[in-house]
Symmetry: C2
Amino acid sequence: MAELTPDDFMAAALAEARAAGVIGEVPIGAVVVKDGQIIGRGHNLREHAQDSTLHAEILAIQEACMTLHTWRLEDCDLYVTLEPCPMCAGAMINARVRRCFYGAKDPKAGAAGSLVDLLSDPRFNHQVQVVGGLRARDSGELLVAFFQGIRAKRKAAKQAGQSPEKQV
Amino acid sequence: MAELTPDDFMAAALAEARAAGVIGEVPIGAVVVKDGQIIGRGHNLREHAQDSTLHAEILAIQEACMTLHTWRLEDCDLYVTLEPCPMCAGAMINARVRRCFYGAKDPKAGAAGSLVDLLSDPRFNHQVQVVGGLRARDSGELLVAFFQGIRAKRKAAKQAGQSPEKQV
């Protein structure tokens, strides 16, 4: 069997992102990979759980820790469809993740180079190698379509005189 | 009944830190407060759960979200015995925490001014007011005593020819 590539793992993260979008969450997904195997998956569940910590990366890291029975995710790579926020970048440093592959840049909260660069900061006790822009268009289009859908629903609700959908 | 003060809430965070130390975790504790009431508590559980995300602040934020049935911790203050790391500072930004009171500075990983200053960064969509140094000596002494204990145990084990205690 052919070895899986970074593109394949990002496809798995994109599948997680779609799973979030289907249930009305902002479509962001992540997987953790070790030795060519996916050992943790996660998608954004902030609204469903009403828990601000439940980003895709946190859930994927938690599942990977459970899989390996250790909090040290050395030699593990994390794939996520959107550039991580400071919380998730910090979680990768804490978990000693080896590499972070991300899809679309996040100019509003990105902590892998856009607003701050936590993952490469040599002052922390661990650095995570970053590869950005992997299937960036697919990741970005998912987000754009999601927010266009939200706006269209709001507009339709307004025109029908109904109260707008819950803000996401 | 007299209103509780920031010192009282930091005392509750210190009690959480001691609860972590008793079970062999690095003694760090946190509470989330709204309208003078503690609505979330947490202490470091990284080793017991073998989960790198289970810092005191994350657990306290998660409990507060459950208490309020919302991921938005507006008008909430977080008290933590050690300056937050990037993950936990990021979690406070994501949760829209109003203020962060911390005890001891963390020169190795502090993200509230020591290494980076995420909480006050105006480029993020939310800023958290920071009050550092609240009962800093008590918080620091707990950590110093904990690591002295670890080193003493290791030394004793070495002298007795036993394998050293698991590294924390």
